[in-house]
């Protein structure tokens, strides 16, 4: 494994008095510069770097003992800062969106165009299969999570609004996707076929 640049951030941030204050100030400048880029043109620019850098700094100082040196310290700190900023942007963006209004009366599909004509195209066949799989092979919870995702709601926000957590919802959606894929395969459609026709 290549050696990771050795720096004295952890030491200085763990110190006391002026040394620590100086390190915090330097780190803040770096984080703000990086976050300004992160916050630009995402989720309506509702979050400014200055809004979140304080929260990020608190988390970083809190987790200082978990820094393992797998990356540069500033990279590690920036991962925490970016995640803090993204979470806040997502939260604010979807603050007023209720699950009821988002999900409405459930995930619905238009009937395939040629469904009644007796001469369905391949595309119609696949759409009919997709609808059938969504309706029969997914649980209600999986359907809701996939539906919310298709409306642009990030998994993290869905988790927060439904009292779950991001890892669990990611797994829920992933299992749903795997089930749909498996259903297509059992019906003789390969992933590349459905993408070629429907995507």
């Amino acid at each position: 494994m290549a050696t990771v640049e050795k720096d004295d951030w952890v030491e200085r941030l763990s110190a006391s008095g002026e040394v620590r204050d100086q390190a915090v100030t330097e780190l803040r400048v770096i984080l703000v510069r990086g976050l300004a880029s992160t916050c630009r043109n995402r989720y309506d620019n509702r979050v400014q770097a200055d809004d979140v850098v304080q929260d990020a700094l608190i988390k970083i100082l809190d987790k200082l003992h978990t820094f393992e040196g797998r990356s540069k310290f500033t990279t590690w700190a920036m991962t925490i800062a970016v995640r803090t900023a993204m979470s806040e942007m997502r939260r604010r963006h979807f603050k007023d969106v209720s699950m009821e209004s988002l999900l409405g009366d459930g995930m619905r599909f238009e009937p395939a165009a040629n469904e009644a004509s007796g001469d369905p195209s391949e595309r119609d066949d696949m759409l009919t299969k997709l609808r059938e799989l969504v309706e029969t092979s997914l649980t209600d919870k999986q359907r809701d999570a996939v539906h919310a995702l298709l409306h642009g709601m990030p998994v993290e926000v869905f988790a927060e609004k439904t009292g779950s957590n991001r890892n669990a919802v990611y797994k829920l959606v992933h299992d749903a996707r795997a089930k749909l894929r498996q259903g297509f395969e059992q019906a003789g459609y390969k992933a590349k076929d459905i993408s070629a026709v429907l995507a």
Partner: protein, 81 residues
């Protein structure tokens, strides 16, 4: 309301891209800094790093955060090396 054509395309894209993924978002987050540095340096990815890549390809949240992280790192690396 019925799904729009675009939503159906998104759904199909998600289905087609589905591969096994042993990582959670937390696992991914724990090593994303290392992954970002390796990617920025154009280094070959170890097996562990390939698992991160696989998670990123399937997880919109982590992938969005990763893109933002890369932008932020590029921004700070311009001056601080």
């Amino acid at each position: 309301m019925s799904l729009s054509k675009q939503q159906i395309q998104t759904l199909v894209g998600l289905i087609a891209a589905t591969e096994s993924d042993d990582l959670s978002c937390e696992d991914c987050f724990g090593r994303i800094g290392e992954f970002a540095e390796k990617s920025l340096e154009g280094r070959e990815l170890s097996e562990g790093m390939q698992l991160i890549q696989r998670h990123l390809e399937q997880c919109p949240c982590c992938s969005e955060e990763y893109k933002a992280l890369i932008e932020a790192l590029q921004e700070i690396n311009v001056e601080q090396v």
